[in-house]
Each structure stands twice: as structure tokens, then as C-alpha cells.
């Protein structure tokens, strides 16, 4: 289901209260003209999955953290910041989880250049 960034928090809260209380994964795809962030949720009792897709403009990449609702989001959000440069608002400053190029390169974006030497941050 496609949602707007402003509607995302409210939608996720509503999904959680209706039984979709298990976060499977947060991931993203770089479609060049937009970066789509995808949230996968599951209703364990009924075995149903639900997804929320948020399209973000490459010049305006930010989202609000859902960690207070879903502790599982912690490492996925950190991964999203490092791999796609999507800034997650509401998180405290943390060390890098997987990458070493802080703000210099986002490996899973299509603009990442193979063979170029990025300096570590």
C-alpha cells in the first residue's frame, strides 16, 4: 500500500493496533527519480502480511523513526541511513553499523560508483 510520508506514522500505528504487530523488515529501492522505502509488517495470529511504501524525492530524504513502536526497527533504520542516506529523524547519534563511509557514499544508491575510492569518515 502506497502512503505519503506525513501519513506513515498514523498508518503504522493503526496497523499495529489492528494486529500487525510484527515488523519483518524495512528496506528501500532506488528508482533514481525517487527512493521508495518499504515497511513489511505481519499479523502473526492470522498469518497475513502488509506493506507500506513511501516514495521520497532524492533531494528530500528523511523519515521519522518508528523505533518507539517497534524495537525491531532499530538496526533496519540504521542500515537504511548508511546504505541509502535516508535520514531517520528522532534517533540519537550512533556509531555506524555496517559501513565506514559516513555521509560520503551510499552503496545501495544507483549513483554509487564502482571502482571509485571513497575515503572513510
Amino acid at each position: 500500500m502506497k502512503v505519503e510520508r506525513e501519513e506513515l506514522g498514523r498508518n503504522i500505528e493503526r496497523a499495529k493496533s489492528s494486529g500487525y504487530d510484527y515488523l519483518i523488515k524495512i528496506t528501500a529501492v532506488d528508482y533514481i527519480d525517487n527512493v521508495t522505502v518499504i515497511y513489511f509488517f505481519r499479523n502473526l495470529a492470522e498469518g497475513k502480511d502488509a506493506t507500506f511504501e513511501v516514495e521520497l524525492q532524492p533531494s528530500d530524504l528523511w523519515l521519522v523513526t518508528i523505533e518507539p513502536l517497534f524495537p525491531a526497527a532499530d538496526w533496519y533504520e540504521r542500515e537504511l541511513q548508511e546504505m541509502f542516506g535516508v535520514i531517520i529523524r528522532g534517533r540519537k547519534a550512533e556509531r555506524l553499523l555496517l559501513e565506514k563511509w559516513d555521509g560520503k557514499a551510499y552503496p545501495l544508491r544507483k549513483s554509487f560508483e564502482w571502482g571509485k575510492e571513497y575515503t572513510s569518515g
Binding site: D21, Y22, L23, I24, K25, T27, A28, V29, D30, Y31, I38, F40, L44, G47, D49, F70, P71, A72, D74, W75, R95, L96, L97, L98, E99, P107, L108, F112, W114
Partner: protein, 363 residues
């Protein structure tokens, strides 16, 4: 006053390259920060530069203790994107191989766990010796002990060799007897039980909130197994039952693995009975029907360590994007929560019971 100690990155009990920064109050754990990423190889990015069927060798290195399980999930995602059917014999053959892989992985877990709780060397040797029997069967079927790369679109690289069925069933008979030995050897051992019972407890509510998967989720009383709740191949037909316990401690996580091994043996026996005659071989590439560009598929599989989910966005000849949900990435995240308040000496058994493989965490 808190003391900070560093465990790893190179340490026999961290199951690979994991660095734990542990804050201690006396010898009680106050906080753990796992530093991961030492084995990060960027597989998701590498896959974008390879043709579809050039990637399985990379997939096998994601979880090197159960290589076939991740490989199969990837090939299944490609099959779903390209619209390729798997014939009935090949489906049964894959189920048998995947369950053999699960047995090998669980036996590895038992061996490594007994090592972690200080039970050197008997449990370790037993686990690895019996795992070797399974690896021999897999070598007979695929030609390799560990990195098989035997999944092809629509089937396998080779059909089963002659006499394979008899060899597997002989080993299954032997192994179901061996499981009793493991139980009596470990569960009557007071040192093992002290390290396992009531240690590292994860409640049902927290298991759901932290999104854990596989045996960690089922040990906390959540009956979710992809093979049962979202069945693929013929698991529905085999009357598969997922194994659930409610205590959520180390012991429950260990028990789930033993119970799952019994279930796997049953699945293998029944699969051989139902398996039809025919040809299980698939093909390397099939580009007659090129994929729909930007078609997305989601495929979930129950790997030995939990649910592997592949989210594939198909490109022309290569994947446009492949996102993997590897089970131990999220199972390791819960370590800080369940180890807090336990003694430092119990940290290794808690980490061991989560059954993390660092290559699977870091991808």
C-alpha cells in the same frame, strides 16, 4: 561503577567475527553493544551487477553453515520473477535436500553450543561427527560437501544418484537413535542445565516486539513457521507441525532444535515415499521469456536459523535490486535485551543459543 570489557572480534565463542562491548556491574551485564559489519561484503550490491544465475555462489556464502537454504530462497525468487514452474519431483527433491541441510545445521548448533557452555569436547565431537554423515549424503547428491550451487531454474543441477534413497534412510535411522543420546547426555548434565534453564529469557511480547524469527520466536511461544503458516512446495501435504515451547530461555531454544530435527527426519522419510518418478533437473538460464521490468516478488523460506525473505525487483537481465532479510541479523539485535541482568559467564551460552552466523548478520 561499571567496568567495560571488549570481547572479540576474534574469539572462539563469538561464532565468527563479532565484537561485543560489554558494560559490567560487578559480573552482572549492564549493557551490550554488538559491533557488527566485519564480514560485510555488500552482496546485495554485487547481485545487481551479475546475471540472475551468476549469483547463487554468492548466496551460498551468506549463511555458510546452511548454504543451500539461502541459495534456494534466491533461486525461488528468480523463478517467481521469471514465472518458471518447478516440477513435482524437483519440489520433493528440494525439500529432502533442504531438510538434510537443516539437520546438518542443527547438529552444528548442538556442537557449537556445548562448546560454548564449557562442555568440551564430547558434545562438540558428537555434533560434528553426525553432521559429517549428512554432509556425505549431500556430497553424494550434489558433488560438494559444503558449497553446493546445485539449484537451477525449475529444478536441480543433478537428479538424485542411484541408491541415494537407501543411504539417506539408513542415516536417518541411525540419527533418530543418536538424538536420544544427545538428550540423555546433555539434559542429565547439571552444568549444562544450569547454563541453559531460566537463562536469557525472552518473553512472548518482547519476541514479537523485537521481531525475532526462527527457533528464537518459537521458543518464546509464538507458533510461527513459514513451512506451516505460509507453506511452499509440499509442506502442507505432509501435515507439517511447527515446534513451539513457551519458556523462552536458552533451554527452550536448544529443545526446539532437537524437536525440529525429529520433524525433519519425519519429513525426509515421508518425502521419499511420496516422491514421483521423473526428472528433477532444471536449467541454468532461461531468457526466452524475459522478466517484466520492475516486477517485484517477495519469497519467504524457513531456513535453519529462521525466516529468510527475498525481495527482488527484476531488471532486464540482472536483478535491479535484491533485498534480503537474513534471520540472524535481527536475532542478534535482541542479545542486549535478553542478556541484561545475567552474569558474564552466561553470555556465551545466550549468544550460542541464538545460533548466530556472522556472515548471515553482515551479508
Amino acid at each position: 561503577m561499571l567496568t567495560r570489557i571488549n570481547i572479540g572480534p576474534i574469539h572462539p565463542s563469538t561464532h565468527g567475527v563479532l565484537h561485543l562491548v560489554v558494560d559490567l556491574d560487578g559480573d552482572t551485564i549492564d549493557n551490550i553493544e554488538p559491533h557488527i559489519g566485519f564480514l560485510h561484503r555488500g552482496v546485495e550490491k554485487l547481485v545487481e551487477t551479475r546475471m540472475y544465475m551468476q549469483s547463487p555462489p554468492y548466496m551460498e556464502k551468506i549463511d555458510y553453515v546452511a548454504p543451500m537454504s539461502v541459495d534456494e530462497a534466491y533461486v525461488a525468487a528468480v523463478e517467481a520473477a521469471l514465472g518458471i514452474e518447478v516440477n513435482e519431483r524437483a519440489q520433493y527433491a528440494r525439500m529432502i535436500l533442504l531438510e538434510l541441510q537443516r539437520l546438518a545445521s542443527h547438529l552444528f548448533f548442538i556442537g557449537a553450543l556445548t562448546n560454548d557452555v564449557g562442555q568440551m569436547f564430547t558434545g562438540f565431537m558428537w555434533g560434528f561427527r553426525d553432521r559429517e554423515l549428512i554432509l556425505r549424503l549431500l556430497e553424494e547428491a550434489t558433488g560438494q560437501r559444503m558449497f553446493y550451487v546445485n539449484m537451477r531454474l525449475g529444478g536441480l543441477a543433478n537428479d538424485f544418484p542411484k541408491d541415494f534413497k537407501e543411504h539417506v534412510l539408513d542415516t536417518m535411522n541411525y540419527l533418530s537413535g543418536r538424538l536420544k543420546n544427545y538428550e540423555s547426555f546433555l539434559e542429565k548434565n547439571p552444568i549444562f542445565m544450569q547454563r541453559m534453564k531460566g537463562v536469557g529469557v525472552l518473553t512472548k511480547e518482547d519476541a514479537i516486539a523485537f521481531g525475532v524469527t526462527g527457533h528464537v520466536l518459537r521458543a518464546s511461544g509464538v507458533p510461527y513457521d513459514v513451512r506451516n503458516n505460509n507453506p511452499y512446495y509440499f509442506y502442507r501435504k505432509l501435515n507439517f507441525r511447527e515446534q513451539t515451547l513457551s519458556h523462552g530461555d536458552n533451554f527452550a531454544r536448544y529443545r526446539i532444535k532437537i524437536m525440529e530435527m525429529r520433524e525433519s527426519i519425519r519429513i525426509i522419510r515421508e518425502s521419499f515415499e511420496d516422491m514421483p518418478e521423473g526428472d528433477a533437473t532444471g536449467q541454468m538460464v532461461k531468457l526466452r521469456s524475459p522478466p517484466v521490468k520492475n516486477k517485484t516478488v517477495t519469497v519467504s523460506r524457513e531456513a535453519p536459523r529462521g525466516e529468510v525473505m527475498m525481495y527482488l525487483v527484476a531488471g532486464d537481465q540482472k536483478p535491479y535490486r535484491l533485498s534480503m532479510r537474513t534471520p540472524t541479523f535481527i536475532n542478534l539485535h535482541v542479545l542486549n535485551h535478553i542478556a541484561k541482568g545475567n552474569r558474564l559467564a552466561d553470555l556465551y551460552s545466550i549468544l550460542g543459543s541464538l545460533d548466530v552466523v556472522m556472515a548471515d548478520v553482515d551479508r
